[in-house]
Amino acid sequence: MNGETAAGLLSEFDLETQTEVLPDPVGSNQDELLVLGIETSCDETCAAILRGKDNVLANVISSSADLHARYGGVVPEVASRAHVQAVNPAIAEALRRADLTLWDMNAVAVTVGPGLVGSLVVGVAAAKALASVLEVPLLPINHLEAHIYANFLDHPNFGPPAVGLIVSGGHTLLVHMPAHGLYEVLGETLDDAAGEAFDKVARYLGLGFPGGPAIDQMALGGNKRAIDFPRAVLHKGYDFSFSGLKTAVQDYLRKQEKQGKEVKLEDVCASFQEAVVDVQVTKTIKAAQSLGVSTVFVSGGVASNSRLRELMSAMCAENDLKLHYPSPEYCTDNAAMVACCGHFRYIRGIRADSSISADPNLHLA
């Protein structure tokens, strides 16, 4: 969490004991390397095929979100069952779109964690079976690392050293990436993930699930300064907290109802969103400046939030920082980012064998 020096950093070499490092396996053929990516860490069953480091030949996403909508959140058992049904059709569809066969693949990359264990095991089982039959390397990928690598898909010039946010329904992390495969987690949420806060507030407002896009849309017509919601600016370092803000929204709604005042949903959404985004942007910029890093990224489902992009762009421009964020299709969970992370792993010679397993609590560093 607070490793200030290189000695405090953990690398993937330390994290995965089953991996072995081989000398340069592909040499000059890196641009032709075909990696099949599989991602099943939450409620989306994803398969993708990547040629080289950024040529996405197919990016298939089969979501079970509709099945979860009535429960107001992802139900792990429902998600796991959906993955068993969807993973093989997703792989077949990716191959069809890329006009390739499984036997063309040079490696199989799969998310092994963090995530829902019942969901992860499905993708991992499929990937292990494929790598074993095809006799190609199996590349175990950290989901959070994959979110960072999503930036390579749109920005060939992206690269470490960089500082950025990974913000989604499951995660809120401020990360320093000094080099490929090296990460330092500067800050994390102490309670809800940012996306979770969006989902919960959307539920209070009756806007349905998932809440992020609904609030983003509603906020466009609202005044972000209408209600002064609290910013949880924690004194210690770069950690985040959203539970106080969530409660403040509830309190506000209750107070308005008691006083018989009308609630303008647009204003609530805009003001709530501003409170979330403000803290995230401020801390990211501060981290980049204090580490002397000039590249900033924003990844994860919440990275497609329009206000986060707007404010982050403005603040980065003001502070002379280069900002990268993936296009919307690579912000939410997808397997192209997993394949991309796998590509960089492969060319660094990192391999695993069929004894790898899902790790729902896998850490980035």
């Binding site: 058992e77 068993v84 499905v122 089982a125 499929a126 292990k128 069929s354």
Partner: protein
């Protein structure tokens, strides 16, 4: 016809390679890291030891449960993906059927019982017929007391097998006319899966790759709770 059988729906993860000429290689592990870790290394080991490769396989057979959710998913996802990659047919079988088939040499009513956790068991009733077994009940999930009531109600002699029968032996033993199978038959095995799959494969009675699913028998808690809350609302 070389068949790879995968059965991981109970704490016993089991893999067998066999054909109509017999079982070639088989393994079973009931503890350790779990089917997710065991399965692929076990398949690779059996292939290597028997001098076979994936390209020799003609079909994949898989035990569908009922059983432990994660085990069933690992087994089914692995089996489906192998069948997809190798472009070979897949057939699924109930894991209760497999265990009943193993102990079919009895005139009693045969009842495989799996521990379903949460103080419940999965079970079904079978009878020996020439060349195999026939199932005489639906697949059921319920308390050991419910199983006892079913047994008493039928008035027949019973052979109870499986880890659920052994776990609840104490209450179940109080019922008359009940005999228990040995611990050698505590779990379904991939060897009987291969044996049961072969006739279906010869008749080209395959399952559809994208449709085959674990035999969950229970809905998720969230679904059950949601339905209850809807019923309350509608009342």
């Amino acid at each position: 016809m070389l068949v790879l059988g995968i059965e991981t729906s109970t704490p016993a993860a089991s893999v067998t390679i066999g054909s109509e000429q017999g079982i070639i290689a088989s393994s079973l592990v009931t503890r350790g890291a779990g089917p997710g870790d065991f399965l692929l290394p076990a398949i690779e080991f059996l292939m290597e030891q028997s001098g076979l490769s994936y390209r020799n396989l003609s079909a994949i057979a898989v035990g569908l449960g009922p059983g432990l959710f994660t085990g069933m998913r690992v087994g089914v996802a692995t089996a489906k993906t192998l069948a997809q990659a190798l472009s070979v047919p897949i057939v699924g079988a109930s894991s209760l059927d497999l265990l009943a088939f193993d102990v079919r040499y009895s005139d009693k009513l045969i009842c495989p019982v799996f521990d379903a956790k949460r103080k419940e068991v999965f079970f079904a009733f079978y009878r020996q017929v020439p060349g195999g077994i026939t199932r005489e009940s639906s697949y059921m999930v319920g308390s050991p007391e419910r199983l006892m009531a079913e047994i008493q109600g039928s008035g027949e002699d019973f052979l109870l097998v499986g880890n659920g029968a052994l776990l609840y032996r104490d209450p179940l033993e109080r019922v008359d006319k009940v005999e228990f199978g040995s611990m050698a038959y505590a779990f379904p095995r991939a060897a009987s899966l291969v044996e049961l799959a072969l006739p279906r494969l010869f008749m080209e009675d395959y399952d559809r790759l994208f449709d085959i699913e674990p035999h969950y028998m229970r809905r998720s808690d969230a679904e059950i709770n949601w339905e209850r809350s809807m019923q309350r609302k509608n009342r």
